[in-house]
């Protein structure tokens, strides 16, 4: 049985994009904007923006790819597991916590795997979902956003991003433990 909330969520997620586009275009038309011409004018930038981020994306993803392929990721996970165990963080989720910042598809695969093994309604299943939903692939965002405008010196952005991710991680553990005792 699907609750009303699930249904509303589903309707919203499938209707949101068409509705937003519809609203914007209709209001613009009423305000006598030349919608077609404006759209084409804006869309022109799509190609150049996408191409501009390629070098930054290659640089970042290759470094992360090498790190994972060499097995250094697994060693890192094992090395810090005593620390996380002491803090009450389940060691099964350590790889997810690290990869979540590096690769979106990689972490999605890990989360699916954890839910498959432990069940989506278990503590680990819920926590992996909350971690997945409350984190962003920080390094991808850094590479793409700064890459698009050619910024190479990112100053405190990386540190601030990592800080927010750690806060989200700690909060996920606390909240899932508290809300689903």
């Amino acid at each position: 049985m699907e609750s009303t909330f699930v249904i509303v969520t589903k309707v919203l997620s499938s209707a949101a994009i068409p509705l937003i586009i519809f609203t914007i275009i209709v209001i613009a038309a009423i305000r006598k904007v030349k919608v077609y011409e404006e759209f084409v004018e804006g869309a022109k930038e799509g190609f150049t923006t996408a191409v501009r981020i390629i070098p930054y994306l290659v640089a970042m993803l290759v470094a992360i790819g090498m790190f994972r392929a060499s097995g250094a990721m697994d060693i890192l996970t094992k090395a810090i597991s005593p620390l996380t165990d002491a803090l009450g963080f389940p060691s099964e989720l350590m790889p997810l916590a690290i990869i979540r910042n590096l690769s979106g598809s990689g972490s999605l695969g890990l989360m699916t795997d954890i839910m498959k093994v432990h069940g989506p309604d278990s503590f680990l299943g819920r926590l992996s979902g909350a971690m997945m939903g409350s984190h962003e692939t920080t390094f991808y965002v850094l590479a793409v956003y700064f890459g698009s405008i050619g910024v190479k010196r990112v100053r405190h952005a990386a540190l601030a991003g990592i800080f927010s991710d750690v806060v989200a991680l700690v909060m996920s553990v606390i909240l899932v433990k508290w809300l689903f005792p």
Binding site: I27, G42, S70, M115, I149
Partner: protein
């Protein structure tokens, strides 16, 4: 900072790969050049053409332990490993041939590693010595897998470097369509004055978080649009709008190539990913048979809210320690 992270990832990766490879070489983990004993049942191998046999054979736990050591058999679930094989007999010497062993599930990791090192993780192609006349009865044959050297460095080169470089480009090119669409829609919204309207609504908050950005600057509108898209879980729309916002923020940048305070703040807000509905997670939990897939909305939302607030405060606090090069840091 990114310089160090980038360098660190690559240097550590190479050192770890090299270290593991050297350890495997010095232990001779793969027993290069040595043969393992395969066994077959009566009628297990049948002629499949001239000089060609196919069928199934098996490896026992003790045969694997004899060659590779008993540690390597720990991953085996049963004592025998049944697998399909394909045998091409040499035209000049009927007792030797090329043997293709398909790796079944439940194979010990060492066999999977040998296969992966050969380029195809599903099979091992090596040399076999056998007596084809005896295939009607049970028997065994010697199988020499290909030698394996520096497999982890090779894996880093293939999976970590070449494949990923390719992926990165297709990822970027794959963005073109969605990017064009949302930048087009954004342009319409801008021309209709909608972006400005949205920016006006949240002006009190935005001017406090971004004190360096004039309240009527187009960057404000673009950032608000990006945050709205993120909040609604429309990640497809969020990236193009975010890139647009960065472009606008860069127009206020007097040091090309260096991030401004406003850019770092915007990035922090983006990485905290304040989302009302984490749609992907809910969809996956639904397919896994969760009784209430949306029950993670609350913890997710609260966790991101806290990380957003603390992240913004932290970013504001540390920006003074990262002065823009060539400028005296501002006294707080």
């Amino acid at each position: 900072m990114l310089n160090y992270i980038w360098l660190g990832l690559i240097v550590v990766a190479i050192f770890v790969a090299l270290g593991r490879d050297i350890r495997e070489e010095s232990n001779d983990r793969f027993k290069n050049g040595h043969a393992i004993g395969l066994e077959y049942a009566p009628g297990g191998l049948k002629p499949a053409g001239p000089n060609h046999f196919a069928g199934t054979a098996f490896l026992t736990r003790s045969a694997i332990a004899k060659l590779y050591g008993s540690d390597e058999t720990k991953g085996m679930k049963s004592d025998t490993l049944l697998f399909p094989l394909d045998l091409l007999q040499s035209q000049t010497n009927p007792h030797v041939g090329a043997l293709t062993m398909s790796i079944p599930t439940g194979a010990p990791p060492i066999l999977a590693d040998v296969a992966a090192a050969g380029g195809d993780a599903t099979k091992i192609i090596g040399q076999a010595r056998f007596d084809a006349a005896a295939f009607s009865a049970a028997g065994n044959m010697e199988f020499t897998p290909p030698s394996v050297h520096f497999r982890i460095l090779a894996k880093v080169a293939n999976d970590g470097i070449l494949k990923i470089a390719d992926t990165a480009v297709s990822l970027a090119l794959g963005l073109i369509g969605v990017m064009a669409l949302w930048l087009g829609i954004m342009k319409i919204a801008e021309a209709a004055g909608l972006v400005l309207l949205l920016a006006k609504l949240v002006r009190p908050i935005m001017t406090r978080v971004f004190p360096d950005v004039p309240h009527d600057h187009p960057a404000m509108g673009a950032m608000v649009m990006n945050m709205t898209a993120n909040f609604l879980g429309l990640s497809n729309a969020a990236t193009p709008l975010g890139l647009k916002a960065m472009e606008e923020l860069n127009k206020l940048n007097s040091h090309a190539g260096t991030a401004t305070n406003a850019m770092c703040m915007f990035l922090t807000i983006n990485t905290t990913a304040l989302t009302l509905v984490p749609a992907t997670v809910i969809a996956i939990r639904l397919t896994m048979g969760s009784t209430n897939p949306t029950d993670i909305i609350m913890p997710t939302f609260l966790a991101t809210l806290v990380s957003l607030i603390l992240g913004v405060a932290f970013t504001r606090f540390i920006q003074r320690f990262f002065p823009i090069q060539g400028e005296v840091p501002q006294q707080a």
